[in-house]
Amino acid sequence: MAERRRAAAARVKEPAAPPEAQTTRAFPADEPPEQLLGYYADMVLIRKFELSADQMYKRAKIGGYCHLNLGEEAIVVGLMAALLPTDYLFTNYRDHGYALMRGLEPGRVMAELFGKSTGVSKGRGGSMHMFDVGVRLLGGYGIVGGQLPPATGAALALTYRGAPGPDAEVVMCQLGDGTTNIGAFHESLNLAAVWHLPIVYVVVNNRLGMGTTVEAAAGEPELYKRGSSYRIPGERVDGTDVLAVRNGARRALDRARLKREPALLEVMCYRLRGHSVVDPARYRSSADVETAQAADPVPLLRQSLIAAGLLDEAEAQRFEADADARVAAAVAFADASPDPSPSQLFDYAYATPVPNAPHALPGEPVVVLP
């Protein structure tokens, strides 16, 4: 028993130091500059998109719940840089950045937020429910933990087609720290372990589930260790460092590809705003907020690129202006798009037509005999 425990523990990598207030970070020599600049452009796009979504929510263009990736840009970009187009992605409701980085047009993502028929889910899903089968983004789920069993099942399906290898298709399933406390997380990991499934569970640890800290909610607050019960190896990486995220994701994805075994990746970050756009987060201390601001990955990468001589102020501003323009175009597209028509209410009710499918609007008679 003790031996087993040691074996499991040994496969758990020691945590990277938590992100500290840093002003710049050096880059490995073999990292192509244009790629680094591309990551910066992507992170800026997410940042600008999310700030715009916040504005649009306040102007009542967006309704319902709206959760932003602010502070998680390096994670989204790093994870999506590691994921291949042939891989499948499942996420929670904090999903705008993932949709953008999977290659969906910002206009279609914004249109979904606006509830327009041109949205990625035809306006039926909204902020929490981005889905595009073409880019293998299989949602966007609003129920905490809801994405985990289906993602696990997608990985099961992959075992019926293709073989392990460097080009094998795999599944990535993103979730939040708070979501590691729900039964679906534990059941899914166990299934993935006993069925040897090609899946990577990525825990985005922004240290809070709404107002609850990881320490208050998790019996094992070092979340990358939570796979140990299922002998799933875990690794924790600094989620403010896009390269650390990408590389960690590649290691985990490789294991899934080559060995057809699950892995758990924990990426550490800070939520820069409230849980959703309407949460003023009064429960956070000012020290906590300051720490979060200091670890903001976007200015950190900007300064690092400038310090490394890969970017100058004028170029940086051009990147930012480009992102602004793309987001403005996305808003314009969403604004100009048509609302779904009430006559479409019963569209997509069933994939297989069936006699007597309900189609009564409220108050319409339901027994209409010939």
Partner: protein, 352 residues
């Protein structure tokens, strides 16, 4: 869909008749908060359990201030683990605690369904009446907030179907308080259904210990031409419609079910025996819904008195879309109710 009522829904008729001159006007949210505070103060076995109810003060701020007042042992924040903490509340209740569980929204109760249906509802009866399960599960349901399909549901009938549970769905702030007091003092598991669109509504709430009787409907407004049977948010819509139609000489009686299990069939039938016409307004999906149960009840208890078939105004049977245009089309509102009332009246040649 009718705009979410923000102003008060004055209580009318029977149950909440004025008892004096200075009854405070408070929100449904405040009424719930007051009831929780009163019970925490009155009985040390009462504990609150749920996600974000303490530090965050409740996702919808129903528990605001209670952590500060009663401390973390009485107001217990939980991890996101609905099955776990609902089940844990059952166990605590078996040993004499009186847990009041908040599930952030009704939609998340689906994860706890096994504990609710197979455990909370069964333990007293299946073990021969040895151990009651005195607990309350509070949760808001309802659409109309653009929360999309998984976050907008009205699944009251899921609970109302289950023997062993008591299910209440108050429409007014006064009932919210009186029924919550009753639920907490009840020795059975009580499902306490709130509604997102009611939290900001205001009404008169008597101070003090006004404890409702679970299992009793109320005639929320008296009338003679047609009975509208409703509960929760739908009752507020029915009352609004009744006021509107009164101006054109149509007298609507509104029966507010208040309790979905047990169901006060007698009050429903008595009203329809008087008016001879019935329309049910419900926020759930039509097939197999609350209205179906009411219609069947009226077939049995008021058949000979009915002048026209009972009609139901319910939600369109689709997973509720996010887009506002589709959501509005799918949810029942005052106009839908008025249209059906007029159709039913026309079928009888009204005015008779």
């Amino acid at each position: 869909m009718t705009a979410v009522p923000t102003a008060g829904v004055p209580t009318e008729g029977g149950l909440q008749a004025s008892k004096g001159d200075a009854i405070p006007l408070i929100t449904y949210r405040q009424a719930l908060n007051d009831a929780l505070r009163a019970e925490l103060t009155r009985d040390k076995n009462v504990i609150l359990v749920g996600e974000e109810i303490g530090i965050f003060e409740g996702s919808y701020k129903i528990t605001a201030g209670l952590l500060t007042e009663f401390g973390p042992e009485r107001v217990r924040d939980t991890p996101i683990a609905e099955e776990g903490f609902v089940g844990a509340a059952i166990g605590a209740a078996m040993l004499g605690m009186r847990p009041v569980v908040e599930i952030m929204t009704l939609n998340f109760s689906l994860i706890a369904m096994d504990q609710i249906v197979n455990h909370a509802a069964k333990i007293y009866s299946m073990f021969g009446g040895q151990t009651p399960v005195p607990m309350v599960i509070r949760m808001p349901g309802g659409g109309g907030q653009q929360l999309a399909a998984t976050h907008s549901q009205n699944l009251e009938v899921w609970f109302a179907h289950v023997p062993g549970l008591k299910v209440v769905a108050p429409a007014t702030p006064a009932d919210a308080k009186a029924l919550l007091l009753a639920a907490i003092r009840d020795d059975d598991p009580v499902i306490f259904l709130e509604n997102l669109s009611l939290y900001n509504t205001k009404g008169e709430v008597p101070d003090g210990d006004d404890v409702a009787q679970i299992g009793k409907a109320a005639v929320a407004r008296e009338g003679t031409d047609l009975t509208v049977i409703a509960y929760s948010r739908a009752t507020t819509v029915a009352l609004q419609v009744a006021r509107q139609l009164a101006e054109v000489g149509i007298s609507i009686e509104v029966v507010d079910l208040r309790s979905l299990r047990p169901l006060d069939r007698e009050t429903v039938c008595a009203s329809v025996r008087k008016t001879s016409l019935a329309v049910v307004l419900e926020d759930d999906w039509l097939s197999y819904g609350i209205g179906a149960e009411i219609s069947a009840t009226l077939m049995e208890g008021a058949f000979d008195y009915l002048d026209a078939p009972v009609r139901r105004v319910a939600a369109a049977e689709v997973p509720l879309p996010y887009a506002e245009t589709l959501e509005l089309a799918a949810l029942p509102d005052a106009n839908d109710l008025i249209k059906v009332i007029r159709e039913v009246l026309a079928a009888t040649g009204f005015p008779r």
